[in-house]
Symmetry: C2
Subunit: 544 residues, 2 copies
């Protein structure tokens, strides 16, 4: 059994009603899914709207290694630690996708003694939110091909851009031809559910009415004359919203340390904005003195989009940013330098500087690994101090919340003292191309952006169609500030290529693709699925 | 709003814990899904194994019209009526599929005052069982194409028979070519989830260990030499079972009359056996003096497969069969005869006779419609009496359980008095072709069966591979005793064509396809989805 599953199983979970009661949530505010998971009800969420909000803490990271830097684990450890030092914190995370669970990466519920539980259930179907999103997405797909089959639709079958989705790593579905039995036959493909625009819509919607409005605006394709055709035009948005009626309600679970955690939504961090739902974040802020949340990938992608997309559209604003780093990843960023850790520090320093440009106080969390040395930790703390930033060695993986108390004190102090407005990278009325340039220059430190001819044409079309005020959603490798995943450290002066752009009118952003983005992962030669099973006692074995 | 949804919404639902307590289920035996739905836990199900079983009532029907004869409504009405007359009854039904909900037929929770509730939730995602089946099925699909991609598998890409599934009416997916981005490209298709062998496996499995054993036996394709390749060979069965860990537990809800109802599983009634799960049926028998259940389509398909497949493999045996008929459908069966009702009675008479051949006492339920006349009802009661069978006019749609008390008394008396063994249509050791002939001659009254050359070859292959003792699963039109849906009444002397056969080694039967069977429905020109929406209060509108 994996160490994470072993620790999770050894824990005695408290009834979720008790966790809720401590957070001030009455029994009537819960819809139970077993003894340890509940959804917050719509009337209860409505009742939270008038409460004063707590302070929002955003956990982000340096450019990661393939294994991740432990952002989720640190978010959980920090939440537990804040509660330990008497500052009431609610954690707000994304839901895991089945693809990585059965593929290579495993679950997404933290690790060691900083986990959310019940681990097996959260990592598998949880409360069915992703299945509902899959159904809603594919209902729209079926209604599109149904229109093409019966005829009379203005939609041009060659210009349908809406694909289908499955919550599965299934590379054979990346490109398919369908309609071979009952035409029209056409080429399309499947993405993994987290890449669905419906996922992004759910995560950015304020309430059921806004959900339907956003779903209605989704552009599924174009007419022969290139006029956009929307889900609303196909009368699909209502039924899609009905399928999402439960999925739009946030899920409450507990950490191993007993902190309340809202786990809700999980959009891709490349072609979408990569953070949990606005509804859950707002609920966490209404319930806690602090809401601790995270954004996908490194701060160049995750924090930038959290701030410029999610905060812009919702009015949310963090009071402190935490940058997670590991010695291992910083050494990787340092490459073949004589002192790779010192060289790699440039990557961390730039992320810190970028977050400060947003007007945020920054604290660095060094997520400790057993292979790290005390000298390495010391040198990182000193280097941060030289920048005027506090760094804390965190051992929450081994010690739970007790291992992140220093971090918690620093974060609470910084957030309490914070009183500056959020400074976004670009204004709504900047042209779309200039928004992309602003991110590339300010955050990535590119010298310029090279737009393909198609990207330039499409940006002009989106603006002509009235979408010019949308923010941009950058889709770029998470491993580098540049579009080349092999360029580590803190490169500058490069030209960022924007190969193509996509309109996500329902989600409310324009995606800029810098290089190719894979929206349907494949399974490795020996997938994790081959090790997973069900015991005769009904318990799940082999999850990691 | 539809009348069914209006009635369902006007009802005050009781907490499911109260319904459970009345049925003798302790709080620890429940996993809650909201206030009105719960799953029975595995330890609780295990504790039921040693209890004496109640009596099983099978509700079946004449050959239906496209609208159905009201089997589900009658099953619910009968269950409510049994409880009203002081005989403790638990209802066991199938779960609805999203395909018909968004397509043409609507939901599957009964109607009028004979409904299971909460109607919206049961008809949409319920507890996610079908989503889990979809995921488990498609995980196997992804692992198949993953093996073909990485190479080293003995599986011949041209001989893969395992398809993919979605719980959606999506005709464009009937035939697709996949693998166009990352080969090997091959032709395959999608079925609706209820047609998945995983669905049949879940419904026939006795417990988690049997579930894995059956999943392992699923044949997904063949090698170049035609040797079968199974899910077990691909190391997929364990992870599939893990995805089904919750789905295998039955769901408890209530009727509008307050009766407990277990709703669990829902295999297709053509290429699968069309009834709810063995686990739920057994639980209903352990909890009730009576368990009232139904089987899909008319008795020629539904009851035959309930008895020859489900009862054979599980040891279950009904104590009484109820044949549901409507004046409308009997007239349709009578065609252009001078007295179509009298002529159509031949259809009902043959179903009654067939069920008696299984050794079962039979009661007829006339599901009353407002257009029926008293004379029509009288003539049906008299015609049944002439056969020595009681017929009861039932008004449960309008009156709830009070409208089926006569039926309930007759059913209880017949079941109480029943003491004969079940007489199946064929023995396990009969050759597969002879099993098909036995059903065709005994149940359908065919003169003979015409097997295609391919069917004859494949049956011989299945026997050579050790599957000769499996029962057969007939896939035939539900609208006639013959394979021609236009032949009504009680035809005889015809030749039944068996065009092809399929091995469902996991489910544990050999499918005989008599004519074409559509395993992926399409949406109508204006689908029900276009009328469904989500209110600002979070309530679902437009379901029927």
């Amino acid at each position: 059994m994996s160490i994470d599953l072993e620790i999770a199983r050894a824990a005695t979970l408290r009834p979720i009603a008790d966790i809720a009661a401590e957070a001030g949530i009455p029994a009537a505010g819960l819809d139970h899914y077993g003894h340890h998971i509940a959804k917050l009800t719509r009337p209860y969420l409505d009742s939270l709207a008038s409460r004063p909000a707590g302070r929002l803490i955003l956990v982000t990271a340096i450019n990661p290694t393939a294994a991740g830097e432990g952002k989720t684990t640190t978010t959980i450890g920090l939440g537990d630690a804040l509660n330990r030092i008497g500052r009431r914190a609610v954690i707000a995370l994304r839901e895991p996708s089945l693809g990585p669970v059965f593929g290579r990466k495993g679950g997404a519920t933290g690790g060691g003694h900083a986990q959310v539980v019940p681990m097996e259930r959260i990592n598998l179907h949880f409360t069915g939110d992703f299945h509902a999103i899959t159904s809603a997405h594919n209902l729209l797909s079926a209604m599109i091909d149904n229109q093409l089959y019966w005829g009379g639709s203005a939609l041009d079958p060659r210009k349908v851009t809406w694909r289908r989705v499955l919550d599965m790593n299934d590379r054979a579905l990346r490109r398919v031809v369908l309609g071979l039995a009952d035409g029209p036959a056409r080429e399309t493909g499947f993405d993994i559910t987290v890449a669905s625009e419906v996922m992004a819509v759910l995560c950015l919607a304020a309430d059921p009415a806004d959900l339907i409005a956003r779903l209605s605006r989704i552009v599924v394709g174009r007419t022969a004359d290139n006029a956009p055709v929307t889900a609303g035009d196909l009368h699909a948005a209502g039924a899609m919203a009905a399928l999402l009626a439960d999925a739009i309600q946030p899920n409450l679970v507990q950490t191993l340390g007993g902190s309340p955690a809202l786990i809700h939504g999980g959009p891709f961090a490349n072609i979408a904005h990569g953070c949990n739902s606005v509804i859950a974040t707002r609920a966490a802020l209404a319930l806690g003195e602090f809401a601790v949340t995270e954004a996908g990938f490194g701060a160049d992608l995750g924090a930038e989009k959290f701030l410029n997309i999610k905060c812009r559209s919702s009015g949310l604003a963090p009071s402190c940013a935490v940058v997670v780093a590991t010695v291992r990843a910083l050494k990787l960023q340092g490459g073949d330098a004589l002192d790779p850790l010192a060289a790699g520090f440039a990557n961390l320093a730039r992320h810190v500087e970028n977050l400060q440009r947003f007007g945020l106080p920054v604290v660095v969390a060094i997520n400790a690994f057993t292979g790290d040395t005390a000298d390495e930790h010391r040198s990182l703390i000193d280097a941060c101090a030289a920048m005027g930033v506090e760094a804390h060695i965190c051992t929450h993986w081994a010690d739970g919340g007790a291992g992140a108390e220093g971090l918690a004190r620093a974060v609470a102090a910084a957030a309490d003292a914070h009183d500056a407005p959020l400074s976004l990278t670009y204004a709504d009325d900047l042209p779309l191309a200039d928004k992309i340039r602003a991110v590339a220059r300010t955050i990535y430190r590119a010298a310029d952006v090279a737009f393909s001819a198609g990207a330039t044409r499409d940006l002009a079309r989106f603006e002509a169609e009235g979408h010019g005020r949308l923010p941009v959603c950058m889709a770029k490798t998470p491993y580098s500030f540049t579009a080349d995943e092999k360029l580590h450290g803190a490169p500058s002066g490069f030209v960022l290529p924007v190969d193509s752009v996509r309109l996500a009118a329902g989600a409310g952003f324009v995606v800029a693709l810098c290089g190719s983005v894979n929206t349907m992962p494949g399974l490795p030669r020996v997938p994790a699925a081959a090790r997973i099973s069900l015991g005769a006692d009904g318990r799940i074995e082999g999850l990691s």
